[in-house]
């Protein structure tokens, strides 16, 4: 059982998708509730499995000692393995993926357009995401990485907003562009390491002894750059970030949630899983740039978010800003102060998880108001299709009309702006504290984010919920039961981890210790 749980986590959704086919044959594609229930049950079981895994997971064990690790030869000739494992870095991501997948099925309950396609693609996406977080063989990792791309392309392109095709193609090409570099880096790692292997655990030992150069550049440096571009696009790190606002805005609600909640984390996950342990020397050389990019992300994302008049775009740019905290925290791995390095690295992974839950709430909440009002403008743009509304506030004063909804938005917004007692605060503070120990001036600039993030959230909150009620919305209905079911678990997690982060932290800390040790040894 223990050694097959990871395989189940990945392939259960595939089975679910396969199961939909006979149902569609038997009952017709119009009976969409079959697909919904199959998807819900599948992701439900997957989430339950993830929880069981969490219960049995021992953070003190390394992946080589863990009972969950699966290692089977796959393509023996090339030394490629079906190698899955879970450690403190992947455990929170697995939980996040399983939870958000389940919630997103609920959030997609209203999808009627080609439901069979939507839900089966969603499950395949789910499988791909799980695979990325569990794979310990680079080749396998890459396969899952690419597997994930295609469903995402269709989910945006078919079920998205008015500019969905443009957004989908842009997302696809952007990511594919990064994948090419990643592929080259992967092959270089394979060929220059001795013995030739894709095994990420073996490579920790062997990659550091690569001592070749191409065109005067050291191979390790080139590999680092290749990996970095691949991962940076996913995060997204400035200046590779512009696919994100478009994709988020055009994607349907649940897909925005997955994009921001899970996909962005793959970038930083990849850096921590592959780049950091394999190329510690390059991490040391590059950490300052990483911190600079992190601070740019924080500031640039927030400054752009302030100017947005579309709620979804505002949340999208807030993601750019919040992922900046992760980068700053990660860069602190080179800190001379062990408290600083640990605060930064643990803060970074916590921030990945916390941002996942908080931003999921934000997108779900925006989706709810969109379902009712059929728009999500904070202020209508000047060239709006209805000229009498152009430049007018999109909402206004609905706080008294829909108090429960407003309460959840307030919670999500305040979590987003890093209010203590909500989860985002602890991880952001730790990223800063870590960053400060290694890059004092940069971090001080970065702390401006504390203010900037508050500005756009509070401005939006005022414009939408406060002030006199906009008469257009005097019949707006409050949150319903299904919506409540999607938002309450996330709200509880945000609150609990804000008050008591130890469960999450204890899971992460030993794994981070390992990475910090590797990086510090290269100093």
């Amino acid at each position: 059982m223990e050694s097959s749980i990871l395989t189940f986590l990945i392939f259960l959704p595939v089975a679910g998708a396969a199961l939909m086919l006979p149902f569609s044959k038997l009952y017709g594609k119009e009976n969409t509730h079959y697909f919904k229930w199959i998807a819900l049950i599948t992701t439900g079981i997957q989430f339950a499995l993830a929880l069981i895994l969490y219960r049995k997971f021992d953070p003190a064990l390394s992946v080589t000692e863990s009972p969950f690790t699966v290692q089977i030869d796959w393509i023996k000739h090339f030394n490629i393995q079906y190698f899955l494992g879970v450690d403190g870095l992947s455990m929170p991501m697995v939980l996040l993926t399983a939870l958000l997948s389940f919630i997103c099925i609920l959030a997609s309950w209203k999808i009627e357009k080609q439901a069979l396609g939507y839900f089966s693609l969603f499950l395949l996406l789910d499988a791909g995401m799980m695979g990325v977080f569990l794979a310990l063989d680079f080749f396998l990792f890459y396969v899952f990485w690419e597997v994930m791309l295609l469903p995402m392309y269709f989910l945006i392109g078919i079920w998205g907003g008015p500019q969905r095709m443009y957004a989908a193609i842009k997302f696809f090409l952007y990511t594919l562009f990064g994948s090419v570099f990643m592929l080259l880096a992967m092959l270089a790692l394979y060929y220059y390491s001795d013995p030739h292997t894709f095994n990420l655990i073996t490579l920790i030992q062997t990659a550091s002894s690569i001592d070749a150069s191409i065109w005067g550049f050291s191979v390790k440096y080139l590999i680092w750059i290749g990996l970095f571009i691949g991962f940076a696009i996913k995060v997204p790190i400035f200046p590779f970030h512009t696919w994100l606002p478009l994709a988020h805005v055009e994607a349907p609600t649940a897909i925005s949630v997955i994009l921001a909640g899970v996909l962005l984390k793959m970038g930083t996950y990849g850096l921590l899983r592959i780049s950091y342990p394999l190329l510690p020397g390059e991490v040391v050389n590059f950490s300052y740039i990483l911190a600079v990019l992190g601070v740019i992300n924080i500031i640039w994302g927030a400054v752009n978010a302030i100017a947005q008049i579309d709620m979804k775009k505002m949340v999208a740019y807030s993601s750019v800003s919040h992922m900046g905290y992760v980068l700053l925290g990660m860069a602190a791995a080179i800190s001379e102060s062990s408290a600083g390095a640990q605060a930064g690295m643990n803060g970074a992974v916590m921030q990945m998880f916390n941002h996942g839950t908080i931003t999921a709430m934000l997108f779900l909440l925006v989706g709810m108001v969109y379902d009712r009002a059929h728009h999500r403008w904070i202020i209508f743009p000047r060239d709006y299709e209805k000229p009498e509304l152009a430049g007018q506030p999109g909402f206004g004063g609905i706080g008294a009309q829909v108090p429960i909804y407003t309460g959840f938005v307030a919670l999500a917004f305040f979590a987003g702006l890093g209010l203590p007692a909500l989860s985002g605060f602890i991880s952001e503070a730790m990223c800063f504290i870590g960053g400060f120990s290694a890059f004092r001036t940069l971090t001080i600039i970065g702390t401006l984010g504390i203010l900037l993030n508050a500005i756009y959230f509070l401005r939006a909150y005022q414009r939408i919920f406060l002030g006199p009620l906009n008469e257009t919305y005097k019949d707006l209905t409050d949150i319903n039961k299904i919506e409540l079911a999607t938002i309450v678990p996330l709200a509880i997690i945000t609150l609990v981890l804000g008050v008591y982060p130890a469960p999450l932290l204890n899971m992460i800390a030993p794994a981070m210790d390992g990475i910090i040790q590797i990086v510090q040894s290269a100093l």
């Binding site: 392939f11 595939v14 998708a17 396969a18 086919l21 089977i72 030869d73 796959w74 393509i75 023996k76 000739h77 490629i80 079906y82 069979l116 396609g117 089966s120 693609l121 395949l124 396969v143 597997v147 295609l150 512009t242 606002p245 478009l246 640039w300 400054v303 752009n304 302030i306 100017a307 947005q308 062990s338 408290a339 640990q342 605060a343 643990n346 004063g397 706080g399 008294a400 209010l419 203590p420 602890i426 730790m430 504290i433 400060f436 702390t447 401006l448 504390i450 203010l451 508050a454 509070l458 401005r459 005022q462 919920f465 406060l466 002030g467 009620l469 008591y500 982060p501 932290l505 800390a509």
Partner: protein, 686 residues
């Protein structure tokens, strides 16, 4: 014993939160009787606070309670949560619980009939919880956590009537302005942490004493000033004071509790807590900020006509006093003034609330919705109609004006002695400090009596309104009476002395001078204050008397026409500057807010319209053009000539395989995934 104290402290902290939780989740059901939940829980909190306060009088070495638990750890990086109750904290606990309780009681009447009645009490609960957290905190991190939480409760309560645009603006402004200060506080905390290695208050004090900053005292000065930035925001010091007057958009009892007595004093309290690690350099900076604030806010208060705005600026000014006191080393005086001010200022606000309440109801009965119930020009002659409110407010005014027999005299006198002594030892420009202190004292006496005379004396503005004015009910007047009693000097000097000009009593006994570990000789400071005491007292009596006398001439006897003076003063724009609050809001708006929003707009254009649409998509465009060309070559040459030969062959197979290609995308992908599984199985054989 220790565990009992811990339990009590925990209850003291969490009971108000329980009140919040109950009222948020079940408020709708509880409805009109929401106040019973809140009053009961805050009542118990008050009893516990009284207990802690009582321990101040029993002899003890060190803190009353000090305990902490680990919050979380990564191994080397560990944060703790804990309580540090010393005499100062115990007094503060009582101040918070007492005023919170009285405000709860008062609000039962004041907020009657509000559609969000239960929500209001819930918010008061979360405020009291957060405020207690600041008071109890034994580390800067814990303080920061609750620091932000009081910011949240302040946001919620200022914006309680959020349908008003002014309230919606004010709550946002308050939160954001505070965050500016909080950034400084956060950076300061990080400097302290990475130099001393702890966030614990006692640990920091010990670390500084043991020379953690030795040879780098300048860094400690910077850290101290940065942490103080948090107080600049929270305690509305110049230049971040702009949010507090706007915060008056909240219900008046909230203004009394949060924006007069307790939360805004949190900044002062924080400086009290970190006093041992503040270097003389940092303290000098703090003193100057306090002096500027005290004087400037007093000048603004002279010309305001809104009764609450006068009190708001008076609060800013008095907070400036406290900050200045701490800056000149008069530690005891600063905290003393915090305590006395909490009582008389809460009293003043609640009295103003009583007046506004009466005005509001009178105007309501007259169906007059245009007259502003807070504008003093529409009041006048209310003394006979509202005797309890009048007498309470008069007592509190005497206290704030610094008249002997009233509490403010004792604490203000001590502060002024501190500034004088600071000048005596430093000379030069530091004369600004006593000048600001005595100047503000005179102005305070003047504008406070202006308020009293405009509101309670003279002819009523309109007989109709006056006829409908009634004294407030007992739930409102009881807190007034109690707080006005607590504004008497006697309350703070018992049982040692009944001498009205001698401040030695239980308070001075309970709050002895602390040691400063960062290089300030507290004995010298104490001695200096002692020497300056009588000069300060004489001077302060003179300036207070002068202020009151001028006010009597202007507004009671009306021997001098105030409008003539103001138009004369306005020849030098003095009136306009005061009335428009030194134009600071306008300056910020023009220099900071507008340009920043413009900048963010430009950034969004750069990011999207230029960078993404032109540069990034430009690559796509180039690729398309290139592929067009190559596609052309490809098709005309390669394809048509060579490939088609093979193609015809393929067509044959294609026709037969077409059946599996039903165009459903997910089938392709599913096929792909199953393929992967198949491949895994197949390749295992190699």
């Amino acid at each position: 014993m220790e565990s009992n104290l811990n339990l009590l402290a925990l209850l003291n902290l969490f009971l108000p939160l329980v009140s919040f939780a109950i009222l948020i989740f079940f408020g709708k059901k509880i409805g009109e009787s929401a106040h019973w939940v809140a009053l009961t829980l805050i009542g118990i909190t008050l009893v516990i606070a009284m207990f802690f306060f009582s321990t101040v009088f029993s002899p003890h070495e060190g803190p009353i309670l000090q305990s902490s638990i680990q919050w979380f750890t990564t191994g080397s990086f560990t944060l703790y949560l804990g309580f540090l109750i010393n005499n100062v904290a115990a007094i503060m606990l009582l101040v918070v619980a007492l005023i919170s309780f009285l405000v709860h009681l008062y609000s039962v009447e004041y907020m009657k009939g509000d559609p969000r009645y239960s929500r209001y009490f819930a918010y008061l609960g979360i405020f009291t919880f957060s405020m207690n957290g600041i008071v109890l905190a034994d580390s800067l991190v814990m303080m920061y956590v609750f620091w932000e939480l009081v910011g949240l409760s302040s946001y919620l309560l200022i914006g309680f009537w959020f349908e008003k645009d002014s309230a919606a603006n004010a709550c946002k402004k308050a939160f954001l302005t505070n965050r500016v200060g909080d950034i400084g506080m956060f950076i300061g905390m990080m400097i302290l942490f990475f130099t001393v290695g702890t966030f614990q208050l006692d640990g920091l004090a010990d670390g500084v004493k043991d020379g953690a900053f030795s040879g780098n005292m300048q860094l400690l000065t910077i850290a101290g000033i940065l942490v103080f930035m948090g107080a600049v925001g929270k305690s509305a010091q110049f230049p971040l004071h702009i949010w507090l007057p706007d915060a008056m958009e909240g219900p008046t009892p909230v203004s009394a509790l949060i924006h007069a007595a307790t939360m805004v004093a949190a900044g002062v309290y924080m400086v009290v807590r970190i006093f041992p690690i503040l270097t003389p350099g940092a303290l000098e900076f703090i003193a100057v900020v306090g002096a500027i604030t005290a004087l400037m806010a007093a000048i603004i208060a002279i010309t305001q006509n809104d009764i609450k705005r006068v009190l708001a600026y008076s609060t800013v000014s008095q907070l400036g006093y406290m900050i200045m006191a701490l800056g000149v080393g008069a530690y005891q005086a600063g905290f003393f003034h915090l305590t006395t001010h909490a009582m008389f200022k809460a009293c003043l606000f609640l009295c103003s609330g009583s007046v506004i309440h009466a005005m509001h109801h009178a105007l309501h009965e007259l169906h007059d919705h245009d007259t502003d119930p807070q504008d003093m020009r529409f009041m006048g002659g209310l003394k006979s109609k509202m005797p309890i409110t009048y007498w309470s407010m008069l007592i509190a005014t005497l206290a704030i004006a610094g008249v002997p027999f009233f509490s403010g005299f004792l604490s203000k006198d001590a502060i002024l002695a501190g500034t004088l002594s600071y000048y005596h030892s430093h000379h030069g420009w530091t004369i600004f400090l006593p000048l600001a202190g005595f100047g503000a004292a005179a102005i305070t006496a003047f504008y406070m009596f202006r308020l009293i005379f405009m509101t309670f004396y003279g002819k009523p503005y309109e007989q109709k309104i006056h006829a409908h004015i009634h004294e407030s009910p007992v739930k409102m007047t009881f807190p007034l009476i109690l707080l006005s009693v607590f504004s008497l000097a006697l309350i703070f000097t018992l049982p040692n002395t009944v001498n009205p000009v001698d401040s030695h009593g239980w308070f001075t006994h309970a709050v002895p001078m602390v040691q400063n570990n960062a290089g300030l000789d507290m004995h010298a400071v104490e001695e200096g204050i002692h020497h300056a005491h009588y000069t300060a007292m004489t001077l302060s009596l003179i300036v207070a008397g002068l202020g009151i006398f001028v006010s009597v001439l202007f507004y009671l006897l009306q021997k001098i026409d105030a409008s003539k003076i103001s138009s004369f003063m306005n020849k030098f724009k003095f009136y306009d500057i005061s009335f428009n609050k030194f134009y600071i809001d306008e300056i910020y708006n023009f220099l900071l807010y507008k340009p920043f929003l413009g900048l963010s707009w430009i950034a969004s254009k750069l990011d999207w319209d230029l960078y993404d649409q032109k540069f990034i998509d430009g690559w796509g465009w180039i690729t398309l053009k290139l592929s067009d060309k190559s596609g052309d070559a490809d098709y005309n040459w390669l394809d048509q000539k060579i490939v088609d030969g093979f193609g015809n062959l393929t067509n044959y197979f294609g026709k037969n395989l077409k059946l599996s290609q039903n165009g459903v995308v997910q089938n392709y992908l599913l096929g792909g995934m199953l393929g992967v599984v198949l491949l895994i199985i197949i390749f295992q054989q190699f």
